[in-house]
Amino acid sequence: MAYKQHFIEWFSGKSLPSYWTLTQIVSTCTATMADSVDGGMLFQTDSGAGSPSASLTFNNKRQYVATGFKFISVCKKNDDLLGIKGGMGSSTSVNPDHHAFMIEGTLASYKTLATKDGSTGTETASSIALSQDAFAYDIEGTTSNVTLGINGSIAVTKTTNRPTDPLQPYLYIQSRTSAAVKDYNVRYLECYNT
């Protein structure tokens, strides 16, 4: 069997690898390596009140198949008044036309799977509460559904509004409600075509 595209990011070292593109969406956010145990990459908003936000992607190099991919990440956030997304998207924007995201924080009431099929985006919540604890999640897209797993167990299976266009790894941060510097730490990311 021919090897398919497979990517692993350890988020370890002196700086973020230059193959990542930070796209500022509102105000100014930063993506640097954390000087803390298990800190990985520190995706951070500025302290502005206007919902500073940004995405981190491969600058629209979309090598992953919407109906045959898996995305895995380990992350945590430090503030309840913060929205985060992670998964696969078709652009660098806040709401890519095609995507399969885990969303957390004030973007949702529970850890949630969000998908969009090119025009319509919908969300299905899990029963797993929002928190500031580190957690692992995985998103798998197949020809019949998209699943969201949290800490090794499938939490959501979604069959509606699934992406169809090629995708890239995608991380997103948005400060919400209060003005403060807020942190989204990501210490692992893996994605591959199945």
Binding site: G13, K14, S15, V37, K70
Partner: protein, 223 residues
């Protein structure tokens, strides 16, 4: 069905801790990940070897050290590894027999600043130093030197080293040894979070062309 690397490294349901795997392959050292430093006078090199299993060649200045770590500056050094629960695995080889030393391990500080460390120290012949021709577990917190009893004739061979920081001690295993020859343990730990550091250095004398070490694998993770 393609399996994830994550599932091969972690038990189901595990929230993985920080890890990095460096295979030292390509046309140049990954300088997004690694900072390079040198002491002494002359020219240092950090180059990929054009030879089978060559990995990275670190060549020091003739009377100094050449270092790679996660610290571009004192203010921006990155230390994601726990002083009481982490592992470093290195496959390396030291080239010269005389006035050369290779030391790899965990360090709390920027390379020019004071700090604590636990290292694997591979030392050739110097000027009769008591550490000559030994592979040792060493630390400065507290001062510790424990010989692995590897034969002096094997000092310059390729070896795989596993250095582990435990809750109140550290261990060094050479080529998988779990006791006796090839294994050392000491009651030492750094006093705060750490960065990895790989060093090829001259010791107690000048090395023509610089002290050379090959590295073809480095993995570091929190346990």
């Amino acid at each position: 069905m393609t399996k994830s690397i994550y599932d091969q490294l972690n038990a189901s349901g595990t929230i993985a801790k920080q890890r990095v795997v460096e295979t030292f392959s390509g046309d140049a050292l990954d300088t997004d990940r690694w900072s390079t430093h040198a002491t002494g006078s002359g020219t240092e090199e950090f180059v990929m070897g054009d030879e089978v299993n060559g990995g990275l060649l670190i060549k020091s200045r003739p009377n100094g050290a050449a270092i790679i770590d996660f610290g571009a500056s004192d203010a921006t050094k990155k230390r994601p590894f726990s002083q009481t629960g982490s592992v470093m695995i290195v496959t390396s080889k030291m080239i010269q027999a005389q006035y050369s030393v290779q030391y790899n391990g965990f360090r709390t500080n920027y390379y020019t600043e004071a700090g604590k460390n636990v290292i694997m120290n591979i030392q050739g012949t110097t000027n009769g130093n008591s550490y000559d021709n030994k592979i040792m577990l060493q630390s400065n917190n507290p001062s510790t030197s424990v010989d692995t009893s590897i034969a002096s004739s094997a000092i310059h061979d390729w070896h795989t080293y596993k250095l582990e920081l435990l809750s109140s001690s550290s261990t060094l295993s050479v080529d998988g040894a779990l006791s006796s020859t090839g294994f050392a343990t000491g009651s030492c730990n750094p006093d705060t979070r750490c960065q990895p550091s790989l060093v090829s250095s001259a010791a107690e004398g000048s090395v023509t062309g610089g002290a050379q070490s090959h590295y073809r694998y480095c993995e570091v993770y929190n346990t």
